[in-house]
């Protein structure tokens, strides 16, 4: 199997798109002089693949990248050398041989921060609890595959667990969401909340991916 990196993407790097991030890694490996396997064919290029693309603007401390390290570099020296070759905001934490299949990656833990700079309405918290406490919450999701242009998903069935904490000007939702087949983008939770309770729509919401989990809810590496 391939090798993996665990990295975070925060600060200014949040705005680098998925494709651009792959290109950034390809170049960073070259800058760090860490030889990795290239694709074969007419236009050979360094092969990298990022599991579960992160939406532009989201931060994460648990991104996984697959590649194949060629001989000559030890796993332990990769994080520091690669981080030094990265744009601001990308930090490589670990490099290791893959031992499990990516399809075992089942859940993602997101932290969503609802910001109310003018002060959080008291009733926003019970509103969110009500919303997430429903038996089902069917929303429309844009889809290119469907003829209608959208598909319907039940958010509740894709939320494994959640916890809500409030401060005077924020409301923080810590949620474990289905990662794939199908995955749930936490943006849909924000949208559903704002639709159900437009009077409590926050000024801004930040999204942070805190952990990737397997089917048992343990960190996936």
């Amino acid at each position: 199997m391939a090798d993996r990196l665990l990295f975070s993407k925060t600060g200014r790097a949040r705005y680098i798109s998925h494709l651009d991030l792959m290109r950034t890694f390809q170049r960073a490996f070259a800058r760090a002089k860490i030889p990795i396997k290239h694709t074969e064919g007419f236009n050979p290029h360094p092969f990298v693949s990022i599991a579960l693309p992160l939406s532009v603007g989201y931060s994460s401390q648990c991104e996984i990248l697959e590649f194949t390290l060629l001989e000559g570099t030890g796993y332990e020296e990769v994080p520091e050398r690669l981080t030094a070759a990265m744009p601001e905001g990308i930090v490589v934490h670990q490099c290791y041989p893959a031992q499990r299949k990516l399809k075992e990656l089942a859940y993602l833990n997101y932290i969503m921060n609802f910001e109310y700079p003018e002060g959080r309405p008291q009733a926003a918290e019970p509103a969110m609890r009500e919303l997430l406490g429903r038996d089902s919450l069917v929303v429309q999701k844009k889809s290119n595959k469907s003829k209608k242009g959208y598909t319907e998903v039940d958010l509740i069935s894709l939320i494994r667990s959640w916890n809500l904490e409030c401060q005077s000007d924020t409301m923080t939702l810590d949620a474990v969401l289905s990662a794939q087949n199908p995955g749930l983008n936490p943006e849909l939770i924000r949208a559903a909340f704002c639709e159900a309770y437009p009077q409590f729509a926050p000024d801004f919401v930040t999204f942070h991916r805190r952990e990737v989990l397997d089917g048992e809810g343990k960190p996936f590496r």
Binding site: D20, V56, P87
Partner: protein, 612 residues
């Protein structure tokens, strides 16, 4: 990161253009520098980040401990709208600080269609547009780049222009500014002093008067400003700054690769070409040094592509040696090597073999004119046999497509010359049939024509651009001629932007009002079809009582005082006039390496050296 910016970014397209933080972006402690410089490119991030001049100046300034140079680009419409709504002022990408608080706001002016963006960026920064409305010493709004050889349409907005290559003069005017700041000079005092630095043109120190017919009567320097400001050049390319460490964008840009500048200037002397005259004299870089720079830049950047850049790369004396050296490095690393700006008469088998070793890009030649007579008249000095030999070589080598660039409306052009383009393209097609190892694959021959724009400081600076109806007629003529050629695709340039370029490239100060009117009525991003509005510019000219045809379609008298009489590229007016006369006799001038034609540019070499 600024909170307002953070809230805006999720709403705009390609937000990575607006964040900074790329690899090699320079962040300094603002308390420890005494000059902050906003290097502004009046177009999108993708275009501006590809500009070699900006890469050089950014690296050069940031090498100085006391200067912090940051980048600034024109935001796309969606970003501009958000910035204006949220009151976010135009900021430097590195610090996020408003550029209005910087010491210098420096624009790179490469093409006329970016002028409206200069005004728009100043406005987004909340900096008054006109120099006269900025009484304080800071921020100083300055500009450099090829357009500065006739910067008159921007004269009221820019405090001073830097003519020619910026490697030395930039640090000189910054040094003078440090003195000014320390000694508390007024802006007027600084401008009077900076005008004494060779290569600096301070437009407010010149009074321009006009004849009744609209032509310039006189340009009078005042306060000791020089009558002629001659551009600056780098004397020794081997000692000049080369940007080995450049910012590697985290998002894709237009020229996303290592750029290796082989030489400056061009030996050819094509009579229409402003770059050919304005970048004289020819100065080569040492091939060993270039190979060293190229490798170091690849190592530092991680780029998988390198391009050799110059005005005419096949004229580089050590091209084969350099290619071999670079290929030994690039090929085992899957790094592509590309070579634009090839002359069609010098594309040899040996060069082709080298280019094929890594990746095969497209092949583009610019014969510029369809007949030998007209090519001689414009001094393109390309012979048909040589072009055909080159394409035969390429087609035999497996290339199955070629692009050919031409201009319509060149001085002395007749219908015979126009139809000659079709003939030439057909001969290229037959060369393919004759030479291709694989006829089943087919061939793509693309012919593109643009509408000739006479440029200042060229042999054709006196010429009229042909009227638009005539341009359209010649396009139609050529289109008809290509009707039955299935393998030839014909593209022609839309005439509207070429007309505006013709107006502004040889314009005078009165056009500043046109520019400001157009900007105030929404003009920006004029090189983008999404934004360009021809009628707006026509309305702007009408509102200011000026005629576009006066600038674009008028033949100038031999001795007319040109609006660009003060800036000099080092080539004498007498030489350019003589070149124009030779054009009308279809006489060629040999290239500078074969024989010096005495244009005057060698006087720019202080060591008394010869060019080439």
């Amino acid at each position: 990161m600024n909170r307002t910016l953070e809230h805006i970014l999720p709403k705009v397209q390609k937000p990575a253009r607006y964040t900074g933080g790329e690899y090699n972006a320079v962040v300094k402690d603002k308390q420890s520098v005494d000059v902050r410089y906003a290097l502004c490119f009046p177009d999108t991030y993708e275009i501006g980040m590809s500009n070699l001049g900006c890469r050089i100046l950014y690296g050069l300034m940031n090498e100085q401990d006391h200067i912090w140079c940051e980048r600034c680009f024109a935001p796309w419409g969606d970003m501009e709208e958000e910035m204006r709504r949220e009151g976010l002022l135009l900021y430097g990408l590195e610090s996020g600080d408003p550029i209005a608080d910087f010491d210098f706001i420096g624009f790179s002016l490469g093409y006329e269609m970016a002028y409206s963006n200069v005004l728009n960026m100043l406005d987004l920064a909340e900096v008054p547009l006109r120099s006269a409305d900025r009484p304080d010493l800071t921020p100083l709004v300055v500009a450099g780049g090829t357009c500065c050889y006739n910067p008159e349409p921007l004269a009221p907005f820019i405090d001073f222009f830097s003519l020619g290559e910026g490697e030395e003069v930039t640090l000189e005017y910054i040094e003078l500014y440090r003195q000014a700041k320390e000694e508390g000079w007024s802006k007027e005092e600084y401008l009077r002093e900076v005008a004494k630095i060779p290569g600096i043109y301070v437009p407010s120190l010149y009074d321009v008067t006009y004849h009744e017919d609209g032509t310039v009567a006189a340009i009078t320097p005042k306060d000791g400003a020089p009558a002629t400001v001659t551009k600056r050049i780098v004397q020794d390319m081997d000692k000049s700054y080369f940007p080995v460490k450049t910012i590697i964008p985290s998002t894709e840009i237009v020229h996303d690769r290592v750029m290796l500048e082989l030489f400056r200037g061009c030996i050819r002397g094509c009579r229409f070409c402003q770059a050919g005259y304005a970048y004289r004299p020819v100065r080569n870089r040492n091939p060993q040094l270039l190979a060293q720079y190229g490798k170091a830049a690849c190592e530092d950047s991680g780029y998988q592509e390198m391009t050799l850049s110059s005005l005419s790369s096949t004229d580089y004396p050590c091209l084969m040696e350099l290619c071999d050296d670079l290929l030994d490095y690039c090929a085992p690393r899957d790094i592509g090597l590309s070579l634009p700006s090839l002359r069609a008469d010098t594309f040899s088998m040996s060069l082709m073999e080298r280019l094929q070793r890594v990746r095969k890009g497209g092949l583009t030649f610019a014969p510029e004119a369809g007949t030998q007579r007209l090519r001689d008249a414009i001094n393109k000095n390309l012979r048909e046999e040589d072009l055909l030999q080159s394409v035969r070589t390429a087609f035999s080598g497996g290339w199955s497509g070629v692009k050919l660039y031409f201009m319509l409306g060149l001085p002395t052009e007749t219908d015979e010359d126009v139809l000659g383009i079709a003939d030439l393209a057909r001969k290229v097609y037959f060369a393919w049939r004759e030479c291709t190892p694989n006829r089943a694959r087919g061939v793509r021959i693309t012919v593109s024509t643009s509408w000739f724009v006479p440029k200042p400081h060229t042999a054709f600076q006196w010429e009229a651009q042909i009227p638009v109806e005539e341009y359209q007629r010649r396009v139609d003529l050529l289109r008809d001629a290509f009707k039955r050629d299935k393998s030839i695709t014909y593209n022609w340039h839309d005439p509207q932007t070429s007309y505006l370029e013709a107006i502004f490239s040889r314009g005078d100060r009165r056009l500043a009002d046109v520019l400001e009117w157009a900007w105030a009525h929404g003009a920006k991003m004029d090189s983008w079809s999404e934004y360009f509005d021809y009628q707006r510019w026509m309305d702007a000219l009408a509102a200011c009582g000026l005629s576009g045809d006066f600038y674009a379609h008028r033949v100038r008298e031999k001795d007319e005082v040109f609006p660009w009489s003060v800036p000099s590229v080092g080539v004498s007016r007498e030489f350019l006039w003589h070149e124009r006369e030779l054009c009308y006799q279809s006489q060629t001038t040999p290239d500078c390496r074969t024989r010096c034609s005495g244009c005057g540019a060698n006087k720019l070499l202080t060591g008394g050296g010869r060019c080439g």
